[in-house]
């Protein structure tokens, strides 16, 4: 039985008057991949943005209820958000490397978090991160070239390398493959399989097949509510809830 890494209890999110999440109770297990599925606007991205307090950047956003990581109250007003985001990395839908070299893209995070004092320490972090993100072999001879010169799939792996360079505990992935071709997608999925040995991963995806392939647990959201959560195998073979079944089989009205 896995340990619970992140626990949300009666989590509600409002954008102004509009409520985006309703009493979400969801446990994310340590060193496991949890997939969040549901139609656009159902609240799955809003949910993962609660984990690294990304919703803070939206003025009208209000979060109530509880969300904890290893017992730490993520919603605590006095929490150091920078150090939270060091522990919770994020990868977005479109690859968004900094307009800097491949090397700088990765060393930037460790530098501002005070990791890697010397050049050789930083070199090591860059190499390790690129190896972990399965990009090292492809870029080791051109680390000073701009990150944006890479292909889309490579850029996304660069963003994953950047996320893991500060040695986080959790990685949030918001549709990380939606802009990628099938081969680049397959590489990311294989990488996720490898990364879950070290990190707790949450992935938002619109691809049912991807959710089945990469995750151990799946949560289905609809209109801001968590409708059903369970073992991925169970959700996709024999879900308990009719709404879940209608969504994953493509019957949603």
């Amino acid at each position: 039985m896995s340990n619970v890494k992140i626990k949300s209890k009666n989590l509600n999110v409002y954008y102004g008057d509009k409520q985006a999440l309703f009493d979400v109770n969801l446990d994310l297990n340590e060193k496991e991949v949890t997939a969040l599925i549901g139609p656009s606007g159902c609240g799955k991205s809003t949910f993962i943005r609660c984990i690294n307090r990304m919703n803070d950047v939206i003025d009208i956003c209000k979060v109530t209820g509880n969300i904890e990581m290893d017992g730490l109250n993520i919603n605590d007003k006095d929490l150091d958000v920078v150090s939270l985001r060091e522990r919770v990395g994020m990868v977005f839908q479109k690859p968004n490397p900094f307009p800097k070299s491949i090397y700088d893209n990765i060393s930037y995070g460790p530098k501002i978090h005070g990791k890697g004092e010397t050049k050789s320490e930083l070199d090591q972090i860059v190499e390790n991160s690129l190896k972990k993100s399965a990009l090292w072999e492809e870029v080791k001879d051109r680390l000073d070239e701009p990150g944006t010169s890479l292909s889309g799939g490579q850029q996304q792996r660069l963003c994953i390398a950047r996320a893991i360079s500060v040695n986080p505990e959790v990685i949030l992935m918001d549709e990380p493959c939606s802009a990628l071709d099938p081969i680049a997608t397959a590489k990311i999925e294989e990488l996720i399989d490898e990364l879950k040995k070290t990190y707790t991963i949450v992935i938002v995806t619109h691809s049912m097949a991807q959710a089945v392939r990469v995750s151990q647990k799946t949560g289905f959201f609809h209109l801001g509510k968590l409708i059903e959560v369970g073992k991925t195998e169970k959700i996709f073979k024999n879900p308990d809830n009719k709404m879940t079944q209608d969504y994953i089989t493509g019957r949603f009205g």
């Binding site: 049912m208 097949a209 996709f236 024999n238 879940t244 079944q245 493509g250 009205g253």
Partner: protein
Amino acid sequence: MSNEHTVKSYEEELQFLKDSLIKMGSLTESQLSDAMDAVIKVDKDSIDKIIKSDEEINKFRSKIDTQIMNLLVKRAPMAIDLRETISSLKISQDLERIGDLSKSNAKKVKPLPLDLPDELLGNLKRLGELVMKQLNDVLDSYVNKNFDKAKEVWKKDEQVDDLTYIAMESVIDFLSKDKKNLDFSTHLIFATKNLERAGDHITNIAETVCYLIKGEYLKGSRPKGKVIQE
């Protein structure tokens, strides 16, 4: 909320698959019943027709295979649709095997003498009727998605085993009376055994239907009746 797929052609493809399976099921039923009649009445004229209908059943099987392959590759079905697709694959295999067994029984009619005594055929007839009832019930349970009925069929295979035992005994009795009977008695023993095996395929179908409806396999081992030592 609607029960239809957003993609209409997907809905149609699934329906088409179910329809094919139902047609294949009803062909298998008539073939089993014709083969049974042929044995009981020692009707040698119907042998060819029964063998021919087996070809039809086999064609259905490959048509269903193609439909399933297309569904898997085009739709990547999930949940109930996945269970429906996989169940069709399994059920069509069992139906095809039942067809083979009926064909085999029809072929056994050829060497039978026309004046077989009633007491010899009575038990075989009862067994055949039970197996036909079982096939009919299991196909009904598939069409109407009736879990209880499928489970009933599954349980009743015990009776098929028992009747097989009784029918076998009567053939062996007959055989032991006169060694001259050996030749065709052997065919009757095989025909009886074929019916028992058809019963096993029907039990497989019952299990598949239960899985299709509830998404989990029946617990516990199959009920077993008396079995002739092989």
